[in-house]
């Protein structure tokens, strides 16, 4: 799995949110995105996921050009912004509804995904009654349950307690180890530094620095 961004630029409401970003992301790694609020972390994830269309440049996913050959990456799990599910359904029912679109996984696998994030799959509580932390965990379960090749997690540790954060670290590493390309953005510097194999620093929509943590090789982008 490989994602290539070539000179991607995006303006929203006259504000340049992505400014000429070129990157190559490969599978089997956790890519951390760091930057202050408004630096373009979420927008970069949206561009990769196909939710927003670049004004110029291209996004190529395993040789297929997004917005040309494909509308969305073919195997992707995302958690971007707050998780959004159907209020009147339980967590399991919500994930079953989503899983029914591709019909790739069984009920047992869905239940396992819920268990993996520390929730009870047999809980009869409706989603609207979930706490923020539970909603976040369910959002992560939804992103991971089909074992996608690309996983985008935007602030996955939001609303989670210490145990929850440790769980996310464990899960993202597990996904990386099975070969998935995991992109994580987080405002907590310690978490992103500990978790990522490579770190991309964003500022005002630009990549200002990348760092390969395995070699502690730092590159500053001019």
């Amino acid at each position: 799995m490989k994602i290539e961004l070539n000179h991607v630029t995006k303006t929203i409401s006259r504000r340049l949110v992505i400014d000429d970003i070129s990157l190559t992301l490969e599978g089997g790694k956790i890519w951390g995105i760091k930057g202050i609020n408004g630096s373009g972390k979420t927008m970069l994830m949206r561009v990769i996921s196909g939710l927003i269309k670049p004004d110029s440049g291209s996004v190529i996913i395993d040789g297929k050009v997004l917005w040309k050959d494909i509308s969305f990456p073919e195997s992707i799990g995302i958690l971007i912004e707050a998780p959004a599910f159907l209020d009147g359904l339980t967590g399991l029912q919500n994930l079953q509804t989503l899983a029914s679109i591709k019909n790739k996984i069984s009920d047992d696998q869905i239940k396992q995904a819920i268990l993996d994030v520390g929730l009870n799959p047999n809980l009869s509580k409706k989603y609207k009654a979930y706490s923020l932390g539970m909603k976040q965990r369910l959002g992560i379960a939804a992103a991971l349950m089909e074992k996608p090749e690309i996983i985008l997690l935007d602030e996955p540790t939001n609303a989670l307690d210490v145990d929850g954060v440790e769980l996310i670290k464990k899960l993202t590493r597990r996904e990386r180890d099975r070969g998935a390309l995991v992109v994580v953005s987080c405002h907590d510097e310690a978490i992103i530094t500990e978790l990522s194999d490579e770190i991309i620093y964003l500022s005002e929509g630009k990549v200002v620095k990348t760092m390969d943590r395995s070699e502690d090789d730092e590159k500053t982008v001019v």
């Binding site: 509308s71 969305f72 959004a84 989503l98």
Partner: protein, 282 residues
């Protein structure tokens, strides 16, 4: 994939929102009750009108009939067709938010998993058609239920008394029987076209603004009897089956609405294929 998306829309956009159709049923029954008592009132002065049974066509026309042409003359009486407008705006409002809300929330997951933006739009067009169809089906059911309770005649012909209620000069009307079948079908098709226009506009503007656009088309259609304003085709009382003086041609209405639907289907595909999916706030 399209079938899966459509199933999802039917389940979440219709079945889980059945309460809307329940309210619609009550609205239609209420309209039927009002007509029933109006008929009894007229019967006090003209007892001969009560000899004729009320028909299913009367019940439906009273609800969706609209009004005769507005003529700007001194002493010309004109009553804005509040019930007609309300009936259309209820369904227009009921289908207003589902597509865009869905796109910002849970539907975003669905869209990405489906991997197909075009299927999303076509599924929404079908969902809209089924929603509008279900709404008018409920109207028909409520008229049948009310008709059963009051001993109505089950045909779609319109009685003379109803046209009197609507303040028509009987000498200026088409030859009876006045049948509602075609104007009613055209009314439903026009409402679908208006709702499709509203759904398309919601991709460009805020949903509430697109709802105001729908309302504006209805108001202008009532005030200006022109084939260009498609709301006129949704007014059965202005069609060739009822009046002879410059009526709205039913065939032309179907053609105009079908062409508009086709254009909006294509424009929607064009837009959704290039559209950024952001949050509501953005």
């Amino acid at each position: 994939m399209f079938i899966k998306l459509l199933k999802f829309d039917i389940k979440n956009g219709i079945i889980k929102r059945l309460w809307i159709f329940g309210l619609a049923f009550l609205l239609f029954i209420l309209a039927d009750v009002i007509l029933y008592f109006q008929r009894l009132n007229i019967g006090i002065e003209h007892p001969e009108l009560l000899e004729q049974n009320i028909t299913l066509g009367d019940l439906l026309l009273y609800t969706v009939g609209g009004s005769k042409k507005f003529v700007m003359e001194d002493n010309a009486s004109f009553i804005f067709p509040v019930l007609w407008a309300f009936v259309i705006l209820v369904i227009a409002f009921a289908v207003l938010r589902y597509p865009t809300d869905e796109l910002c929330g849970f539907g975003r997951h669905v869209l990405i998993l489906s991997g197909n933006r075009k299927a999303w739009w076509i599924s929404k067009c079908c969902w809209l058609f089924l929603s509008v169809g279900a709404y008018y089906y409920i109207m028909l059911i409520s008229a049948i239920v009310f008709g059963c309770l009051t001993g109505a005649t089950f045909n779609l012909n319109i009685s003379e008394f109803l046209l009197q209620v609507m303040q028509f000069d009987l000498s200026a009307l088409a030859q009876p029987p006045w049948n509602l079948w075609e104007p009613l079908l055209l009314h439903v098709w026009v409402v679908y076209t208006l709702c499709l226009m509203q759904m398309l506009l919601s991709l460009y503007l805020r949903p509430l603004i697109s709802f105001f656009c729908t309302s504006a088309v209805l108001v202008f259609s009532v005030l200006f009897s022109s084939p260009v304003l498609i709301g006129n085709y949704a007014i059965p009382l202005r069609t060739e089956n009822i009046i002879t003086d410059n009526p709205m041609r039913i065939g032309l209405g179907f053609v105009v609405c079908t062409v508009l639907c086709a254009i909006m289907l294509v424009l929607g595909l064009f837009k959704i294929n290039r559209m950024d999916i952001l949050t509501k706030e953005e």
